[in-house]
């Protein structure tokens, strides 16, 4: 018997693709029996060998992954309704999601039962793929704390509430709110979707899906360095972000510090999600000078108007020879900077078929930002207000706010400080 000769170590080098291809499904169960359960956290599977050292990201840490993790190419975001009837059930849900997340982010696949009358444990579309820098980020929305059966109302931070109505918001109830959210980011869209699909499947009956959005990004690489991605208006998006490599900046703008919000959220952050429709056809017939005046930057370089480097100082008070501001006072960047707030933006573009009412592209931006207090985002959005020249080309259709738990240390689980 082939299996007999394998030491436990050599079995670890069998890729999941080879395993399924050459030995067949029945033998997968043997491997399970031999190395013990792969469901148990911390147990490295024989499948782990396929994930190259640098393409899986650890689930564990002081903060959740998927917030400061750099340059994800794809996102699958889903907002969920919570259907469990008690806090202990909610705790169990997050415990089991913690195990699932560790496994998924490691690129491991649960082997099937030898009982082939059972459906496969894993939905399987990621078999043979690597971890693709998958990150899974979990948050809880204000409505979760309003469910009396969960008894969480006293733990709700005052700032965790629905975002206010902003000027020109035209929210569609189909893309609003949620009790729980999962953000799956990866460099492979199939890996990201697979993760969410399996998390939801494992929680069937405990959650239902409220709304979801897939999105993508692409980063030009110059001199080995990934640059700021462009949104569908072709402008660089995220230039003004705080430095994710600077703990000082992250602590100042993104991570909730002890005493700043509810205790259970220390080390966590607030996640704003906005589904912003972009009118591509309208934008595409707009003169380049007007596009640049709308944003306040040069399109190709990403530099502030009148400058050449993307990261040059904006210097909003610069005037031209006639005394007019070089960066228009109603431009998107000018107004955003007026708020004097900083947030960590991690937005993704989406395309979703054709708008049945107009025949136009249904496309836009899945805007995601992380900040230690929702007010940072609210102040910026209020500053944009009615004045923002960009309003002519966009409409906010979806909105949600979530509190993202701090990171999970080995042996603990998501939301332990809230649910324990």
């Amino acid at each position: 018997m082939q299996t007999e000769k394998h030491s436990s170590e050599s079995r670890m080098e069998i890729s999941r693709r080879d395993l399924l291809k050459t030995i067949g499904i029945g033998a997968v169960g043997i491997a399970l029996g031999a190395v013990g359960s792969l469901a148990a956290p911390g147990v490295r599977s024989y499948l782990g060998g396929i994930a190259s050292a640098n393409d899986n990201i650890s689930f564990y840490g002081a903060h959740q992954p998927g917030i400061t993790t750099k340059n994800p190419k794809h996102v699958y975001f889903v907002s969920l309704n919570c259907e469990v009837k008690s806090r202990s059930e909610l705790k169990e849900l997050f415990q089991s999601w913690t195990e699932d997340s560790v496994r998924l982010m490691n690129g491991e696949v649960m082997p099937n039962s030898p009982n082939t009358l059972l459906p496969p444990y894993d939905t399987g579309e990621a078999v043979g793929l690597n971890a693709a820098r998958l990150t899974l980020t979990f948050g809880v929305g204000p409505s979760l704390f309003e469910k009396p059966e969960l008894g969480l109302s006293s733990r709700k931070p005052p700032e965790l509430k629905d975002l206010p109505h902003f000027p020109r918001d035209q929210l569609d109830p189909k893309y609003v709110g949620g009790d729980i959210c999962i953000q799956a980011c990866a460099d492979d869209p199939q890996v990201a979707f697979h993760a969410v699909r399996n998390l939801i499947r494992n929680a069937r009956g405990k959650v239902t899906m409220r709304w979801s959005q897939a999105g993508f990004n692409s980063y030009p690489v110059r001199d080995g360095k990934e640059e700021t991605p462009r949104n569908l208006f072709a402008f660089k998006d995220g230039t003004g972000n705080p430095n994710v490599d600077s703990p000082e900046e992250m602590n100042r703008f993104v991570w909730v510090q002890p005493g700043e919000s509810a205790d259970w959220l220390a080390g966590g952050t607030y996640m704003v999600v906005r589904r912003i429709q972009m009118f591509l056809e309208t934008w595409d017939r707009t003169a380049l000078s007007e596009q640049e005046a709308t944003i306040g930057r040069h399109r190709d370089s990403g530099a502030p108007l009148g400058k050449t480097g993307e990261f040059d100082d904006m210097e909003l008070d610069r005037k031209d020879e006639n005394g007019n501001p070089i960066v228009p006072v109603d431009s998107h960047v000018y107004l955003a900077k007026q708020a004097n707030e900083r947030i960590l933006r991690r937005s993704f573009s989406y395309v979703g078929g054709i708008n049945p009412e107009t025949g136009a592209f249904d496309a836009g931006l899945l805007f995601i930002s992380f900040q230690k207090h929702p007010q940072q985002f609210i102040n910026i959005q209020n500053s944009l207000g009615r004045l923002d020249r960009l309003n002519e080309y966009i409409t906010h259709r979806g909105s949600a706010l979530f509190a993202c738990f701090p990171g999970v240390e080995k042996g603990s689980y998501l939301g332990a400080a809230l649910l324990g």
């Binding site: 029945g26 169960g29 043997i30 359960s37 039962s113 030898p114 009982n115 069937r204 009956g205």
Partner: protein, 285 residues
């Protein structure tokens, strides 16, 4: 044939497991046994389900006969009243009834299915053809031959079902298939496009799946009591939702009265039931 394959896999597994050595066995000890054995005797369950299915199809023949008589007598209202309740016997026992690839479409074929196969209306037979006559044309005229053939086909089905070997596989797969039927055609209103009596079929499919669960329940209880509790809860949830649409006369309201949020809630409840229902296969282990 299938069963033989499964048994041979189990035997293969057993011998491989034995070869895995002590260390592996120790590691495994803290885990629930992953490998099933083929020792579980389910012959009583198979017999119980066979009896259930045969009884349902006996009733189906009787009710179809009444329905056909009404059609032949030209009584549109009576035929309409008998239509959906008669079909429920068929829908409950569909895992057995659909074994016969030719009879199922003759009895239960939808025009859309025929058209998808490139066939025309002239080849259409069975319940749904008469449904069209009753609800769209409001007549039985011209459907007499269809009605007579329907009764013959129904009787033929009943006779043939005697030969079906009821296996655990058929029961387990059948229960999940019944829910899949609900998810793909009932919940969209595509089963009864003219009469809008989809909720009758919906209920019958659920009852058919629940019957299989009830039969397996004592054995499942020994293997995984939590699964039994979950399944009971989820069946209850679906049944409670369906009960909201009872018409107070022993039937259900028209499917076209349901709003999008109603069908969504029903569909979610079915999906929530389907996941644990598919785990019922542990009964063979």
């Amino acid at each position: 044939m299938k069963k033989v394959t499964i048994i041979s896999i189990f035997l293969l597994l057993a011998s491989l497991l034995a070869a895995c050595g002590n260390q592996a066995a120790q590691k495994e000890a803290s885990q629930p046994a992953a490998a099933p054995t083929d020792s579980t005797d389910l012959s009583a369950e198979q017999k119980a389900y066979r009896e259930f299915a045969l009884d349902q199809l006996d009733q189906f023949v009787l009710k179809t006969e009444e329905f056909v008589q009404a059609v032949l007598a030209g009584d549109v209202e009576k035929a309409k009243a008998l239509y959906a309740p008669a079909r429920m016997y068929f829908e409950r026992s569909e895992p057995v009834a659909e074994v016969f690839g030719d009879l199922d479409p003759r009895i239960d074929g939808r025009l859309a299915d025929l058209e998808a196969e490139g066939k025309g209306k002239e080849e259409w037979t069975g319940y749904h053809k008469i449904e069209y006559g009753l609800w769209v044309e409001n007549t039985t005229k011209g459907y007499e031959e269809t009605a007579k053939q329907l009764l013959n086909d129904t009787k033929e089905l009943r006779a043939k079902v005697e030969t079906v070997e009821v296996t655990p596989d058929l029961m387990i797969t059948g229960a999940v298939d019944l829910l899949n039927e609900v998810s793909t055609s009932k919940i969209t209103g595509e089963e009864e496009v003219f009469s809008h009596t989809d909720l009758y079929d919906f209920k019958a499919n659920i009852e058919g799946a629940e019957k299989i669960f009830e039969i397996f329940k004592p054995k499942l209880q020994e293997k995984d009591a939590a699964l039994v509790t979950t399944l009971e809860e989820r069946f209850n949830k679906v049944n409670e939702l369906l009960a909201q649409y009872e018409d107070g006369k022993g039937g259900y309201i028209s499917f076209d009265q349901l709003k999008e949020e109603d069908t969504k809630a029903l569909s979610e409840a079915v999906d929530q039931l389907g996941e644990p229902l598919s785990q019922m296969a542990i009964v063979v282990e």
